[in-house]
Structures are given as structure tokens and as C-alpha cells.
């Protein structure tokens, strides 16, 4: 005798997930196919237990790999911003995709998905943070900083600073100085 069986893969997978999550006492929500949201912070230990519980079903967690790649992107970008004077002058998109061995389109999508911000915005933010650091700790003028960070002009840096933070570089400097005076 033979029986023919029809599977609903999504339902099967979801019930395996639900069963395992409930057994571990983890509060969860199944968001979509292949996506689980934890309703509370998961300890490393619990996470490990969860990973192990899924192994017999050949279910693996992929999110971590995404996070690792995003972290690599961030490291490359930060390195690029902080060593702007020594790096070869190629476009950041070309540089990132060469360094990490993925197309820029893939990287850009992944980055926005995980961080809620775009690569471009992240680069700008890092540059402005570095500018703040150079203003306060290295006492560099805006002209020197613009040159160091490869801005085409001081005006460009100054505009980007204002656009990103809402305040001008000189107001920023004034505020930080007054804060320090107040603390002393």
C-alpha cells in the first residue's frame, strides 16, 4: 500500500520552531518565513541551546552571518575614513566590493536591512564624527580637516556638517568648550 503525502513546508518548519522555542521557554514571535523575533534579550547560553536544538532538523541560523558581514563593512569604512590620506583614491563603492568580495548592490541592501541606514549615510556620519574629534582633540582648522578627509572644499565639509548635525562646526566647538569650562 502507498500513501501520497502533501507538505506545507512553511507550516512544518514553523511548528518545529515553535515547539523548540516553547521547550526552551523563549518568548518569541514568528515574523515571516524564516524569521523569528525574540521578545526579550537572549543570553548567549540560551542562544546556543536554541542553535543546538535546531541542528537535528538541519535548520541553521543565518542572521549572524549577515551581522558579521555588516560589521566587516563598518570596519572597512571606518578604516577608509580614518586613513583617508593614505588610501588609494577609488570610489568607496568600488573599494568596499573589492575588499569584501561581494557586489556593491548586495552589500548596500544588506547594510540597510541590518542597520536601518545606508552605506552613504554611514560614511558621512563617520566623517563628521572624525571631524568633531579633530576639531576638539587635534585642534585642526576646518581647512586642514577638509584636506585631510578629501573634501573638495571647506564649504562642502561645512555644509555636510551642518546638514548632518543641525549645527555649524563653530557652534559645535563653542558648545563643547563651554561644557568643559562648566565642568571645571
Amino acid at each position: 500500500m502507498k500513501l501520497f503525502i502533501k507538505f506545507d513546508f512553511q507550516a512544518v518548519c514553523n511548528s518545529v520552531l515553535e515547539e523548540r522555542l516553547q521547550a526552551l521557554g523563549i518568548a518569541y514571535k514568528i515574523v515571516g518565513f524564516g524569521e523569528v523575533e525574540f521578545l526579550q534579550k537572549l543570553s548567549e547560553e540560551k542562544k546556543h541551546e536554541f542553535v543546538e536544538a535546531l541542528q537535528p532538523y538541519h535548520i541553521e541560523i543565518v542572521e549572524d552571518q549577515k551581522s558579521i558581514l555588516v560589521q566587516k563593512m563598518k570596519d572597512v569604512i571606518i578604516d577608509m575614513v580614518y586613513n583617508a590620506d593614505t588610501e588609494v583614491h577609488v570610489k568607496s563603492s568600488v573599494y568596499l566590493s573589492e575588499k569584501l568580495g561581494h557586489s556593491y548592490g548586495y552589500l548596500a541592501n544588506l547594510f540597510s536591512e541590518v542597520t536601518y541606514t545606508s552605506i552613504e549615510n554611514f560614511i558621512i556620519l563617520q566623517k563628521i564624527e572624525y571631524t568633531k574629534h579633530l576639531i576638539i582633540h587635534e585642534n585642526l582648522s576646518l581647512t586642514e580637516i577638509a584636506f585631510k578627509l578629501n573634501y573638495s572644499s571647506v564649504a562642502h565639509l561645512s555644509t555636510q556638517f551642518k546638514k548632518t548635525t543641525g549645527i555649524t562646526p563653530s557652534a559645535f566647538q563653542r558648545i563643547i568648550e563651554k561644557r568643559r569650562q562648566q565642568q571645571n
Partner: protein, 148 residues
Amino acid sequence: MADDYTHIILADDDEDDRMFFTEAFEELKMNTSVRTFNDGVYLLDHLMKNEVVIPHILFLDLNMPRMSGIECLVEIRQNSRFKDMAIAIYSTSASEEDIESTFIKGANIYIKKPSDFKKLKKMLSNVVTINWQYQTNGLNRDNFLLRL
């Protein structure tokens, strides 16, 4: 932002403003939890509890009865427990001098309350996103100044 929530508190005596604020975050769907307090005294009572969950961002209205936003700001900034918490001043218009003085007293963000709900959503999402960058990328919080 998948594995963690951004905890947000607002202290504002205006009921409508509190409602717009909460609704804006509900519509944004950004993994945030929002709590509101009706004035500065209630807020500080809450924050000074030992077992309190310190929010990531605190929004302070400037003009509140009993205890103003500035008074809250000064008191909170004297307490090192809250050094990693971003403070946003959330107010109707003020002079340039007033704005700068809130930054000097330790505010990180100054937001002029927008008249339009769409703009409010955009501003709040901007604040959470930028704060998230500071939270996750080890940026220097002492340099966190943002005006919207």
C-alpha cells in the same frame, strides 16, 4: 536593530503632544518602546528608582509645571548613572541662545516640535536612527549633538 529595543521616555505636560509622540512611534514600527510622564517630578521619581530600566533616549519638554525640562536636564546630568542616555529637548521654538544653553547643560538633541505629523515621524525616526549609530558603533557620546 533586530535584536534589541530602543527604550524611549517622554516627559511632557501637554496631553495632545504626548499622544502624537506615542502614535508617531507606533506608526514607525522601529522596535521602540515608549513611556510618557506628565511632568518632570513624575519623571524623576521614576528615573531615580533603583530597579529602573534606563531609557536610551529621554525627550524633555521645556515648559512644564512643577519642574521644567531644564531643571530635569541639569539634575539628570549630575548623575553618572545616566551618562549613556541621550537627552533630547523637545520643545516649541526657542531663541538660538536658549538652544545653545541646553546643549551646554548636557542635552544631545534639540528638536523643535513640528506642526505636522508626517514631519514629526520623520524627525523621530531620524533621532532613533542616529542614536542607534552611537549605541552600536562606539561613537563618542560626548560629541553627540544634533539639532532638528
